[in-house]
């Protein structure tokens, strides 16, 4: 689908499908179109071309009906004037014609949230926790989480990530956006990279987590002589620090024994493998990408 807000903003020719039961991440800098995509799924925006569906229902035409299955954390959180967090949960439950608040209570406990506080006096983190509880409390099949961890401390980010993973194990489908790579790296099955409204790449994280064919090793040598002689071999050096006798090389798995043979006769002080991160993966893509400001 395409939604052109003019001036280069919007989302363009997005072609994407999310499988049932997976955690799908959306990453990109601010203004790359993450929120616009989620707003389409929520039926707040109508695509100019193309369409989006959830469970084979059109997100625009069947927006209200689909909400029975959707939990949502908005990118910008603003609560109505209702008093306390508990009052707000009750209001949202009433809209859904639900009465049971057990799950909301459990979630509050989990996030260490005192929901009896007045919404207006809540800190940013508390507001975010309130929004998280609201999204999960109706036990929806599908979760649309727009920057779900904004304002949370690292401990609470972990609680959030655990919750998301747990929901996946319970068969839920999660579609979440973030501008932080590591957050998605820890939880997602697949991650799509968005730049200037274009979908640049989709990565399966299982392929990334130590499974890449070319790996990066950092090597340190005890003396300059061994360091020099090591460099004479034709390994692909991506970084070197002569003063520390240190080199970083990229090496395909099939050449690893060759590396060990070379190292066996030299005085090595350390060797570490740097696992490829989502960030480093996308940074390469980002630079190589042909997509420019239109």
């Amino acid at each position: 689908m395409t939604k052109d807000f003019k001036g280069g903003r919007g989302i363009f020719d997005i072609d994407l499908s999310v499988h049932e039961g997976e955690i799908f991440g959306l990453v990109g800098i601010n203004g790359s179109g993450k929120t616009t995509m989620i707003r389409h799924l929520m039926g707040f925006l109508r695509p100019q071309h193309g369409r989006c569906q959830i469970m084979r229902r059109d997100c625009w035409q069947q927006a209200a009906r689909l909400k029975n299955a959707i939990g949502y954390i908005p990118g910008e959180i603003s609560f109505p004037e209702v008093g306390s967090g508990i009052d707000f949960f009750k209001l949202q439950a009433a809209y859904r014609e639900a009465r049971n608040m057990k799950r909301a209570e459990k979630l509050c406990e989990r996030f260490n949230l005192d929901a009896s506080a007045n919404l207006r006096r809540m800190s940013k983190g508390m507001k975010q926790k309130t929004a998280i509880v609201t999204a999960f409390m109706s036990d929806p099949k599908i979760l649309l989480l727009d920057e779900g961890t904004t304002g949370l401390d690292p401990l609470m980010q972990k609680v959030f990530t655990d919750l998301v993973k747990e929901e996946r194990h319970r068969g839920k489908t999660v579609f979440m956006s973030s501008h932080m790579f590591d957050e998605l790296e820890n939880s997602c099955d697949r991650v799509a990279f968005l730049k200037n409204g274009h979908l640049i790449d989709i990565v399966e994280l299982s392929q990334l987590r130590g499974n890449e064919r070319v790996k990066e090793y950092k090597l340190g040598f005890a003396n300059n002589q061994d360091f020099r002689s090591f460099l004479e071999h034709r390994f692909k050096v991506v970084a070197r620090h002569d003063e520390h006798c240190q080199a970083t090389i990229d090496i395909p798995d099939e050449d690893i024994n060759e590396l060990f043979r070379v190292l066996a006769v030299r005085n090595v002080s350390y060797i570490t493998q740097k696992p490829q991160t989502l960030e480093s993966y996308f940074k390469e893509k980002y630079n190589a990408s042909e997509v420019a400001w239109s």
Binding site: M42, F44, L45, R65, P74, E76, Y95, R96
Partner: protein, 239 residues
């Protein structure tokens, strides 16, 4: 079609202003009813100007609260993240808006009639009839004004635009007849305003020909509400 939960929430958020305006009107009408023996006189002194201004204030603030402000602030996201259709949202807000205005004038008319019963002069059937005509007229005017602001509130994402356009129109309609009063030469200006369709002076003389004016006011209101509802259901919302 309408959401009881949303209606309750809307009443909670807007009750205070309604109460203030409704009480001011009712109180003034009680005083008028007790002290002014002649309803035609009250039509000229009270019904001519003050209620339309109070209506103006009420519809601009509430009309903006009902839709535009909630989109502007983002709180609408929480209403629409539940299985409530957009048409239900606007229908519910409309029911509150029209209902609160209706109640306001029922209360006003009742207060006026009630107070006159206790006045020295007492009350006649003609008095009751005129009081009802005046309040029905006010209600149709309120329907038109509220429809205009509601329509603006459905169209704009930003409160300031709703207040500028919807509120601006209502304020202009209220001010034109006042400007016209300055000079005979400018008398035609008041015909530009839909507020002139509600004419207490004409009603006080007992003249016929007011019904179509009320119908026009009501029709403007209904049309504006209709347009607003359709626009709100079909447009993009930045939530």
């Amino acid at each position: 079609m309408i959401s009881a939960t949303l209606l309750k929430q809307t009443i909670r958020e807007n009750f205070a202003l309604w109460l203030v305006i409704a009480l001011v009107q009712a109180l003034l009408l009680v005083i008028m009813g007790l002290t002014v023996p002649n309803v035609a006189m009250t039509a000229l002194t009270y019904y001519q100007l003050l209620p339309s201004i109070l209506i103006g204030i009420y519809v601009i603030i509430i009309g903006n609260n009902l839709l535009s402000q909630q989109v502007d602030r983002g709180t609408m996201a929480y209403v629409l993240s539940t299985p409530i259709r957009r048409t239900s949202v606007s229908a519910t807000q409309m029911v509150f808006f029209v209902g609160s205005l209706l109640l306001m004038f029922v209360l006003g008319a009742a207060a006026h009639i009630f107070a006159m019963n206790f006045s020295e002069a007492g009350i006649t059937t003609e008095d009751v009839e005129l009081i009802l005509k005046l309040n029905i007229g006010l209600f149709t005017l309120a329907l038109a004004f509220s429809g205009i602001v509601f329509c603006a509130s459905s169209i704009f994402n930003l409160s300031k635009h709703t207040i500028a356009v919807g509120g601006g129109l209502v304020a202009a309609f209220l001010l034109l007849p006042i400007v016209a009063m300055f000079s005979e030469e400018f008398n035609w200006i008041k015909d530009l305003s839909i507020a002139s369709l509600y004419d207490p002076m004409l009603l006080a003389t007992g003249a016929e020909g007011f019904v179509w004016k009320f119908v026009v006011l009501a029709a403007i209101g209904i049309a504006a509400y209709g347009v607003g509802t359709v626009v709100f259901a079909r447009r993009d919302l930045p939530l």
